[in-house]
């Protein structure tokens, strides 16, 4: 990347990257510079001004000033300390003193910094303003009285999440006495001046936020102003036991902490009270933060059911499962397949596995070349086939973060209209093409970004065939000379003056017309817009979504993706459809369809092993077991048991069948038998982040290269584009699987989701006809959706949506009112 430089902090030399903020450079080298408002990965807010340091003799804000080679930085001088103390004093003005009842007490940055700066007396005062406590949404609880308006919540919401659902609003407090400006330190005064004028309000002007309820604002809040409604006043921070884990809802595999404590005095079983994260380095979604209580409470072991399960496995022909399992469990199932000759059926991972295989052939490697961490560093991102808002929160955060932090641009190809994505940045262009035309979209990407010399000739000529010369009438501004006679009033002389006057002229110009654009339904001004978007862009990335894996021509798409990666210098990252689809795809040899006696694991079957508590034999849920998950960032990350589980595990069944190990985690090193995995002991896998934000979790998958084939992608088939009433298999935000649904703070129902206008047209309840098979569900209007395509969720395995949709993600359906 950029060059390594040397800076001096407090007289000691450190190495850092050029262009790094001083604060981050210091943090990476374990040097403490106080900072309240700064969030790593987000833009500096400059609200708190406490990160004041002296760089080469000048006072600068460490979060905002970039390190230069040879810079000498002093983190604290007497003057700076005085300033910081004044800032903390100002923060403490009128801040309620009832720390005892504050949820943040014990982990409050205001408390910490007040102590750190040694504030033991108060010099400032101003009349207080009454600020009301308000619930912003089903999960957000805002106590304005506690708020110090550091704007971390608004920053993270805008720069990372992309909702921009909150902003600063007027407080209506008394204004500062102007004389203070002379008497108090100037940064403290400036900070106070701003603080006294603002509070945080929902940005839509109402009392309710219209957002994805991810709760990241709660996580970043340094004080107790933002707390989850479920958590408020239930416990103190220090009573909670933090268990590092990996979130089990989607394929992001975010690092989280389950925070547990006994349920109550009478009931001492541990309960998860909340989920927290290292918010400087990872951002959670609503499901990860609030969907934690999906544990399977089992009183004890049921030996009869266990015996029946062993028998069922012995006579089983097929095991049907989904991807909400650990790598270890996947390996156990694969072992069963090898030893007992069963079939393994997993619809989501099967499609992904095929896609990866087809991609791997021409690409010459096992896995996609990049990951979302890398994608986040680029400044031009293309997303194809992913419903960004719901498929994977981290893909969306990356897309958004590129726009905000890297002054980037984004191209979003997706048939379902979405009005949130365009708000991520000015340079975001959305193309709502017809379902089925993903091939065309990829060809367009090739056309736009590829280095033509690296493309096979047939592709170049195929692409050229779409281009034609056309004419276009544009309006152009022309400067004309206009001569007027002006009479000087004083002298009476008349004089001729020549002026330049702009005039709009219509002009016909010759342009290059791209038939692909028309086919995909791109905006007429796309070429010009694209030209602007491409300005000063250096690195490019592409996000590949689930639509492509379930596409009728997914093999061809896989080849195209491989070609794009090769010819366009694009960092390609794929979104695995479900939690551990990548792991399952790498570990298991999957079969297409089930036959004979079926054992279902969290899925329907003749005998059902179930972590939801509804099956014939109980299994532990993800927050009750140890193991590893393979995340979309191509990492194998450990997760730990947050809650007790008293029943049988899959490993117990394996032991009964004589294939088992002593512990489930004894399978972890055995993963090495599968490509990409390493022989690592579970207990030695780290799970955290370093001060510099480096991810130290588990290990990264190897991506072994192999000989690449020279398969050339086929031409695209325009005829498979769908018309008419189309259903799209897509979950609402915050819903991913049965476990998410089980959590009490996730309210999104199993319904048909449609844009506002479509929902009005459909009525309240509809019957959806999939070529004979029908599904009846309620209609929910999603304000963020546009267009006529409706979304049908697949998070309830009981509804068997994968069977209804078959191999596709888009399906022509008939919708009738009920």
């Amino acid at each position: 990347m950029s060059n390594e430089i040397t800076i001096k902090i407090d007289g000691i030399e450190y190495k850092t990257q050029e262009g790094e903020y001083i604060l981050n450079a210091a943090r990476a080298n374990d040097i403490f510079i106080p900072a309240i408002c700064y969030l790593t990965r987000c833009s500096p807010t400059l609200a708190c001004r406490i990160c004041l340091v002296e760089a080469d003799g000048k006072r600068v804000y460490a979060c905002n000033a970039k390190a230069k080679d040879g810079m000498e930085i002093v983190t604290s001088t007497e003057e700076i300390l005085e300033e910081r103390r004044a800032i903390m004093e100002v923060y403490d003005v009128n801040h309620p003193l009832q720390c005892g009842v504050c949820d943040q007490s014990g982990e409050c940055e205001l408390q910490n910094y007040t102590l750190e700066m040694g504030v033991d007396s108060q010099s400032y005062m101003i009349p207080d303003t009454k600020r009301e406590t308000i619930n912003w949404s089903s999960v957000l609880h805002y106590d304005a009285a506690l708020c110090i308006v550091c704007e971390r919540c608004t920053t993270v919401c805008k720069d990372m999440i992309g909702d921009a659902a909150i902003k600063t609003g007027p407080r209506g407090g008394a204004s500062l006495d102007k004389s203070m400006k002379e008497t108090m330190p100037k940064d403290a005064y400036a900070m106070w001046n701003k603080l006294q004028k603002s509070v945080i309000v929902p940005s839509n002007g109402t009392d309710e936020t219209n957002c994805s309820d991810c709760g990241e604002c709660i996580a970043v809040c340094p004080v107790g102003a933002l707390v989850s409604r479920d958590f408020v006043y239930t416990t103190n921070a220090w009573e909670l036991k933090r268990i590092p884990a990996t979130c089990a809802h989607c394929s992001s595999g975010c690092q989280i902490y389950y925070e547990t404590k006994p349920t109550s005095i009478e009931d001492t079983t541990e309960k998860i009270y909340r989920v927290t994260n290292e918010w400087n380095y990872v951002s959670l979604c609503g499901a990860g933060r609030f969907g934690y209580d999906f544990e399977n409470r089992v009183e004890g072991k049921n030996p009869e059911a266990f015996e029946r399960a062993v028998e069922a496995l012995k006579k089983a022909d097929t095991i049907r499962f989904n991807s909400v399992i650990t790598n270890e469990e996947a390996l156990m199932l694969q072992t069963l397949k090898e030893k007992l000759g069963l079939k393994l059926v997993n619809p989501d991972a099967y499609a992904f596995q095929n896609f990866l295989r087809e991609y791997g052939k021409p690409a010459g490697k096992l896995l996609y070349g990049s990951d979302f961490k890398e994608v986040m560093k680029t400044d031009f991102v293309v997303s194809v086939g992913a419903a960004l808002r719901s498929d994977n929160p981290n893909a969306r955060y990356a897309f958004n973060n590129i726009q905000k932090m890297n002054k980037g641009a984004g191209l979003y190809f997706h048939p379902v209209g979405d009005n949130l994505v365009p708000t991520f940045g000015k340079s975001v262009e959305c193309v709502a093409h017809k379902p089925g035309l993903e091939e065309a979209a990829l060809y367009l990407v090739l056309d736009l970004f590829a280095d033509k010399e690296r493309l096979p000739e047939e592709i170049v000529s195929y692409l050229d065939s779409f281009h034609s010369k056309g004419t276009k009438i544009i309006k152009e501004k022309v400067m004309e000379d206009v001569t007027e006679t002006v009479v000087d009033k004083e002298t009476g002389e008349s004089k001729e003056v020549t002026k330049k006057v702009p005039r709009m002229v219509e002009k016909e110009i010759e342009v290059d017309q791209n038939a692909l654009l028309d086919l995909l339904g791109a905006d007429a001004n796309f070429p010009e817009t694209f030209e602007k978007m491409m300005k000063k862009k250096e690195s490019f990335s592409m996000i590949i979504g689930e639509d492509l894996y379930f596409h009728p021509k997914s093999e061809n798409l896989a080849k195209l993706v491989a070609l794009i990666e090769k010819a366009c210098d694009m960092k390609v990252a794929m979104i695995p459809p479900k939690t551990n689809s990548l792991g399952v795809a790498l570990i298991c040899d999957l079969d297409e369809s089930a036959e004979g006696y079926t054992v279902g694991y969290n899925e329907a079957g003749d005998f059902r092993l179930d972590a939801l508590g509804e099956g014939d034999l109980d299994m532990p849920a993800m927050n009750q077991q140890e193991g590893t998950l393979t995340t979309m960032n191509k990492r194998v990350t450990p997760t730990n048991a947050a809650l007790e589980y008293h029943g049988y595990e899959l490993n117990d069944l394996m032991r009964a069948l004589k294939f088992g190990r002593h512990l489930t985690v004894d399978w972890t090193p055995l993963l090495a038998s599968r490509k990409g995995y390493q022989e690592a002991l579970f207990d030695e896998l780290p799970n955290g982040y370093s001060n510099s934000g480096e991810e130290q979790r588990g290990y990264a998958l190897k991506n072994p290269g192999k000989r690449a084939s020279n398969a050339v992608p086929e031409k695209f088939d325009e005829s498979i584009a769908l018309e008419g009433e189309i259903a799209y298999r897509c979950n609402p935000q915050r819903q991913f699987n049965d476990f998410t649904d089980k959590a009490h703070q996730i309210f999104e129902s199993f319904s048909l989701y449609a844009s506002k206008s479509k929902a009005e047209a459909l009525g309240e309840r509809v019957e959806i006809d999939f070529d004979g098979e029908t599904l009846i569900c309620d209609v929910v209007a999603d304000e963020r959706m546009e267009g006529d395509i409706v979304k049908i969720p697949d998070f309830k395995s009981a509804k068997d949506i994968y069977t209804l949709f078959g191999r596709d993600r888009y399906k022509n359906v008939t919708i009738r009112k009920v």
């Binding site: 009832q98 720390c99 005892g100 009842v101 007490s105 014990g106 033991d120 007396s121 108060q122 010099s123 400032y124 005062m125 101003i126 009349p127 207080d128 406590t133 008394a174 409604r229 408020v232 006043y233 239930t234 416990t235 103190n236 220090w238 009573e239 006994p262 109550s264 005095i265 009478e266």
Partner: protein, 207 residues
């Protein structure tokens, strides 16, 4: 009595008196003389006098030391650390505990537990509070750390019971509402010191 003399742990400087003991005479005659001297000195009768005096004092001057314990009790120091009391606010009668959890945190034998919730008035409500007296060592840290002086040490030092649970719940420790008038302000461990007002700096207020 000031505490100064107790704080001076330098024994040598204090006004201790050494008792002079003469050496044993070396000769038999000398020892005999000593016995005779001691015998006729009448010291034995001094001893008899002391016990007689004490008996007279006890019987006729009311200086009996014995307290008939279960019926009579000695007053205990306010600093004594017996079974905890939870106090109420004198005006409203509402319990003082705000559920801040500091006692829970500071408890060195980890015997305090509390359940709290967000109540209808948007306040933190303590739904249950318990001290495990099987573990409590009566160190008094909870009373010292309590910001509201809600948990204090009471005078109930008779901690024998058929069940430990008899003491441990919130209601057991809370001042009964009808006994609110008798509730005394605690001046033992953790109470506000008499010169507290002088010791703190005032926060400037704009109103």
């Amino acid at each position: 009595m000031s505490l100064e003399q107790f704080k001076n742990r330098n024994v040598g400087t204090q006004a201790y008196k050494m008792i002079e003991s003469e050496p044993t005479p070396p000769t038999g005659m000398g020892r005999f003389e000593r016995v005779v001297k001691r015998t006729f000195k009448g010291e034995l009768f001094v001893g008899l006098g002391v016990t007689m005096r004490e008996m007279i004092n006890a019987l006729f001057k009311g200086e009996m030391h014995t307290i008939k314990y279960p019926m009579e009790k000695l007053p205990i120091s306010p600093r004594y650390r017996a079974i905890h009391d939870m106090l109420r606010l004198l005006e409203s009668g509402h319990y003082r505990c705000i559920g801040c959890g500091l006692c829970e945190k500071i408890c060195i034998s980890d015997c305090i537990r509390m359940d709290t919730r967000y109540d209808e008035n948007q306040r933190k409500e303590v739904t249950e509070y318990t001290i495990n007296f099987g573990r409590c060592i009566f160190c008094g840290y909870c009373a010292e750390v309590c910001p509201e002086l809600a948990i204090v040490h009471g005078g109930r030092y008779e901690t024998a019971s058929e069940q430990r649970a008899s003491f441990s719940l919130f209601e057991d420790m809370l001042t009964p509402i009808d006994a609110l008038k008798q509730q005394k302000e605690f001046d033992g461990f953790g109470a506000v010191t008499p010169n507290a007002d002088n010791a703190i700096k005032k926060t400037p207020l704009a109103y």
